[in-house]
Symmetry: C2
Subunit: 386 residues, 2 copies
């Protein structure tokens, strides 16, 4: 562990690897010069290779929510019928953006804490007038659920009207199995999630169909215009002055993922999620999500009866453990624990141990050290060669 003083386990921002922090201290360069062009190309092609986007990824200066806005305004027109496959508060956000810009949004919702059902989606689509687009959250940060993206996309393809598929990959991309070839027309992500970097850069990739849609979409766009981003990217530039410092770090972060190889990165995240789940259960916590639907980047647990989130969270922070609480209707009801990016099992075990110590303080009869050991053992078992 590189920072025993604080163990930051929010589902983004993530703790930065030392090499990323060091890179962020580099002096500015001209964003219209060759040094910048080389960096942009490096990051773009690195991410592109990891997500199956042969033309690379576009890098937008902004938060992930800005990238969601880019997804909407570049492909849709006011009045378009849009289906939002909605399993949590980030699904709500994606749908809201589409509605704000004038789309007619229908919601296909699953219970919070569960994934969307591909068969039910197919049924819905078959029974409805065609949609222009379907919005899908790959990994729902607010509930810790991963959607069966490939199966949901197959349902969309099998349905009428060949809707565009717009995917919120913000908190999953890089860490969980994904490829544009699953049938994705546009996916967005953000630098502070699995990409090992600071927040401030949105990421977007489009299929050929996605690009076609940008030519006919009539929602107003200027800053988020992906055609501008594409045309400038071809020259090694961005249309607007980019967050150069964040890109310095992202280059290092993405480089580490490229070196690791995506299959290994995916397996590492899956093993880490399993270890954290084991550790939390050893602490007596009840996990929110059934094993099948559990995210590999964020784990949610119910706050035990009789425990108030406010004082519980304050006590964890006093011990240097920083996790996230629930959002929306789950505020005060769940805790969320992030394990994406350059995470190691010792940081996980340390966090489980600190959480355990706080639970003991609050009168829970658990063994924090044993829970930390169980976390380590689960990871070792998962990571061991078969």
């Amino acid at each position: 562990m590189r920072n025993m003083e604080q163990n930051l386990r929010t589902p983004g921002p993530i703790p930065l690897p030392p090499a990323v922090r060091e890179a962020q201290g580099q002096q500015m360069v001209d964003h219209r010069g060759s040094q910048f062009a080389e960096m942009l190309d490096d990051i773009s092609s690195g991410i592109g290779g990891l997500i199956g986007a042969p033309d690379g990824a576009l890098l937008l200066t902004g938060s992930g929510s800005g990238a969601l806005e880019a997804a909407v305004v570049n492909t849709l027109s006011p009045g378009d019928r849009v289906l939002s496959v909605n399993i949590g508060s980030f699904g709500d956000r994606f749908a809201k953006i589409a509605a704000v810009y004038g789309a007619e949004v229908t919601t296909f919702a699953a219970e919070w804490g569960t994934s969307a059902d591909p068969a039910a989606l197919a049924e819905h689509l078959a029974a409805t007038d065609p949609y222009r687009a379907v919005l899908i959250t790959h990994n729902e940060t607010s509930t810790g659920v991963v959607n069966p993206l490939a199966e949901l996309l197959a349902s969309v393809r099998a349905g009428p009207g060949e809707p565009l598929t717009l995917v919120d990959g913000i908190s999953g991309l890089g860490a969980i199995p994904f490829d544009m070839e699953m049938g994705v027309d546009l996916v967005v992500s953000a630098s502070q999630k699995a990409w090992n970097a600071s927040p401030g850069i949105g990421i977007a990739a489009l299929s050929a169909r996605g690009w076609e849609a940008t030519e006919t979409a009539r929602m107003p766009r200027f800053y988020w215009d992906l055609r501008e981003a594409r045309d400038w990217s071809a020259k090694g530039q961005t249309p607007w002055t980019p967050a150069i410092t964040v890109l310095y770090g992202l280059r290092v972060g993405v480089g580490a993922l490229v070196a690791e190889g995506r299959d290994r990165t995916w397996a590492r995240h899956a093993a880490m999620a399993g270890a954290v789940a084991t550790g939390m259960e050893a602490l007596g916590l009840q996990l929110v999500v059934a094993s099948r639907d559990r995210s590999a980047t964020v784990t949610a647990a119910w706050i035990p009866d009789g425990l108030d989130w406010g004082p519980f969270n304050a006590a964890m922070r006093a011990r240097g453990l920083v996790i996230a609480g629930g959002q929306g209707k789950w505020t005060g009801k769940i805790l969320r624990f992030g394990h994406m990016g350059d995470v190691g099992i010792e940081e996980m075990a340390d966090a489980i141990s600190r959480m355990g110590q706080v639970l003991v303080e609050f009168g829970h009869p658990i063994d924090a050290r044993a829970a930390a050991d169980a976390t380590r053992a689960a990871f070792e078992a998962a990571a061991a060669p078969a």
Copy 2:
């Protein structure tokens, strides 16, 4: 000079002071926690104090162009009559954003290289139906011209209809005399200009009238919604995950300006601009802008007859001097030299000297060392107590 290898003299990004670079290497914190809240408040109130915005400035993750978009979509409705006081390509950009979102934009243009005339503006306004808003670029980066903002705003106030005044302060704010009390309803800026920081944070401040306008404006907005930014800012947060690393640097950069005091910062920039103008003239270059209209943050000069920008620029870059060329119709015709932020006279003299050496290479009979000395002497004369 802290980096003799490269002297970055673009009009943003600017070279970062060492303390800013160091701050950018800090580990991530939770953007919903108290450490972040303290930082946000520090920056917001620091900038607010420097620009006469008692409620502080809003900090948006994005480029300055995103902040321009925020200015438009938060205050205007489709069909609104808008006057763009347009003196260069950043004025074009501001007007284009308003048009993209459905405003009816009329242009009040001055010749490139000159400022807008307050009397002519008053005349135009008196002879026309009232506008809902007037867009004004304070400091036009593409031409190196500063507008007489206070006088232009007085013309707007004296005209019919009490239009909103939306000011692009991106490349001037912090470095040149400005106060919301001049009659500004909304101003935007960006972290990589006079604020001593990396790009990635847009800055916005509104008057009471500006805030009223946000309640009735009907252009679609989600990511750039300034009401959201204001409401979250009151809790020490941002609505979307912010560019924390850029804010780390900005806190240090703004702190230095607060410590210096705005009158001293303004005087320093004015003295630096005068010194650079003297140095360029000593190199035999003809300045684009008459003394009265000359920006304190960026100086433009005509590229001498017979000199091609491409090879000239390449030779300067080979000597480690990075400046900007012309934009739009002035591409290849002018050079632009930035002197904002934490600039010192030795960096200016060094840049003038390098440019002089390149001019000598290209056969210009000038004395580079004498020009650098003249740059220093002009600064010392301006900075000397009266």
